[in-house]
């Protein structure tokens, strides 16, 4: 079980292959990768992510612990970046490994739903017209009610 908060990019393939090499009885690996969207209707130049060092790691670890209690998982990996990113850049990833696919799929969705609303990250979009803090969506909060 690994949680990493870092400024540097990550390599999804390398992360996943290292991940599955160290796990046993793994038949299914699900990954989610969040990417800075390249919205052609606006001129997004930079996405800047701020976080709360210390709390971030604790919040992510708590979400991972909850996933482990609810599903049978061989391993979980969460990587979330902060700092400046360009459209198309990878922002974050989660990976879940389990014997059967249902556990891996559900746990990855649970991790994402909680991470969206419970981990202290804030996104700011910087365009030619200025800077805007991304607003949270009611649907992200609502997504938690299904778990």
């Amino acid at each position: 079980m690994t949680v990493r908060v870092q400024e540097a990019p990550f390599d999804l393939g390398a992360e996943v292959s290292q991940f599955t090499n160290t796990s046993h009885d793994v038949g299914a690996v699900v990954t989610f990768t969040g990417i800075v969207r390249d919205l052609t209707t606006r001129d997004l130049a930079v996405m800047e992510i701020e976080h709360y060092p210390g709390m971030t790691e604790k919040a992510l670890q708590k979400i991972v612990d909850q996933a482990n209690e609810r599903w049978s998982l061989a391993d979980v990996l969460v990587i979330h970046r902060y700092g400046k990113m360009a459209p198309g850049d990878q922002i974050m990833m989660v990976a879940t490994a389990s014997a059967h696919r249902q556990d891996a799929f559900e746990a990855a969705q649970f991790l994402m739903d909680y991470l969206k609303s419970r981990a202290p990250f804030w996104k700011k979009e910087i365009t030619q017209d200025g800077e805007t803090w991304v607003e949270s969506k009611a649907q992200d909060e609502d997504a938690l009610s299904r778990w």
Partner: protein, 82 residues
């Protein structure tokens, strides 16, 4: 003395990321009232607390929570990770 931290647009409106505050506030809400009374930039940042979240010692909490024994209070908008 309590450490008070601000993130995202709360930090930008107040103009600093953290400060140490001498307070006798019993709850988060009372601390917010003290801060609002200080200067306009605090009043602007805390104008609508329903748009804000608070963490006490790095755990999400709420505005009615007591501050007894708390060393670090953080104010920020709803989170937008992922």
């Amino acid at each position: 003395m309590i450490d008070v931290m601000y993130f995202a647009w709360v930090r930008e409106r107040i103009g600093l990321p953290r400060e140490q505050i001498e307070t006798s506030a019993g709850t988060v809400a009372e601390l917010v009232e003290e801060l609002k009374a200080r200067e306009d930039r605090y009043a602007a940042a805390f104008a609508d607390t329903t748009a804000l979240r608070v963490a006490l010692d790095q755990e999400l909490s709420d505005f009615s929570a007591p501050l007894d024994g708390v060393r670090e209070v953080a104010f920020f908008p709803p989170m937008t990770g992922g």
